[in-house]
Symmetry: C2
Subunit: 228 residues, 2 copies
């Protein structure tokens, strides 16, 4: 019974790593599509979102089966429930990459991002990619040190979002209201992507240490930039 | 054992109804604070968000205890896991009311909503309130007919969001970029609030009928208005 539980949980863990890798690739491709106005790349991201959703469903199904067949208690139970929470965060990260790709599609053949925002968006995407890479490792190795680093990465993301708003709201903004709203939403997509990764990291920390992190609280993006 | 499971699940159900009622009151108060630039009302909403988060934690704790002590299977297990999913949606509805209140606070003492948007925001708030009222009944009575109605209410909300964008992006918009971004985000807060309620309703439908609704898929707001 124990061995079977371990094997089943290991399978769930592999699915989570696959989800994290997919969420990372998706955001990388979505950013490429966004910054190069590449319709085909954006279409591929939108099409592949279904794959992440399918992985989510597989996790959910296995979690239910595990609970029903193995009836875990104590730490085992906590691990199973944590896997479910982490899957929810990873699925949303995939959704946010999909949102970025759809923003590119809405503007195509025009570029959705004006030249003066390309750098800050590229930086946000870089932080998002670093964060997604870390969460993959955290899930593969329960590396709580790396999970804790995610909080700092998230602070960097928040600072970049403030930079982005400074440009949109600055006196030299020449692109009008629609482009400003697009840019503000793009900023939020990257920022929330990071938030979900941090949240997934907190779940893993909780699992390993038993200490309650903020959990659900940080799952939504509660603070908008003060300047907004 | 069965009776004890039923009693424990009933308690979880009561907590969910309390969460739904609180999420409804919070959005109602947040809208009032927003439309009247009432700082004290907005402060109260922000302060009370912690109460919804605390209810969420109580649900989570009871769900874990139920799983560990009662080891439910089949439909009982599905009910417990569904309660957890619904709690997640209700907690996020509370977060979104908090976001609306914070938007009011950021602009105080000025009004965050220009006069020409007050009507559409009030209409969105009305739909949000109707939806939150229904989800409370759905949770109290497992009323799948009312749960299914939520999809139509959500369509009304989406149409209102498009109306809002038409104003912001129209040629007569005189309030600049910052107010436009605020308004766009407010529109999304109401729209996502409705989405989460629909999602909670789908979980209840799934529970009662065993038929898989879109589930997690609609949990994020995948479509932005085409005009954006």
């Amino acid at each position: 019974m124990r061995e079977s539980f371990g094997a089943a949980l290991h399978e769930v863990g592999n699915l989570l790593v696959s989800m994290a890798e997919a969420a990372r690739t998706q955001m990388r491709q979505a950013t490429y599509a966004l910054l190069t106005a590449d319709k085909e790349a954006a279409d591929r991201v939108v099409a592949r979102d279904a794959e992440i959703n399918e992985l989510y469903r597989q996790v959910e199904e296995r979690v239910l089966r595990l609970l029903a067949q193995q009836q875990p208690v104590a730490r085992d139970l906590r691990m199973v429930i944590t896997a479910q929470h982490v899957a929810t965060d990873l699925e949303r990260m995939g959704d946010l990459a999909d949102h970025v790709a759809k923003t590119a599609l809405r503007r195509h053949p025009a570029a959705a991002v004006p030249a003066e925002l390309a750098t800050v968006i590229a930086e946000m995407a870089e932080v998002a990619d670093r964060i997604a890479g870390k969460i993959t490792l955290v899930l593969a190795r329960y590396d709580t040190k790396r999970a804790a680093e995610l909080e700092n990465d998230d602070d960097v993301m928040d600072a970049l979002e403030r930079d982005l708003f400074a440009v949109i709201l600055g006196s030299s903004w020449q692109h009008g209201v629609e482009a400003a709203i697009d840019a503000a939403l793009l900023g939020r997509f990257y920022e929330r992507y990071a938030d979900h990764a941090v949240n997934a990291g907190r779940h893993v920390i909780y699992l390993v240490t038993g200490e309650i992190a903020d959990g659900q609280a940080s799952d939504e993006d509660p603070e908008l930039p003060e300047s907004l």
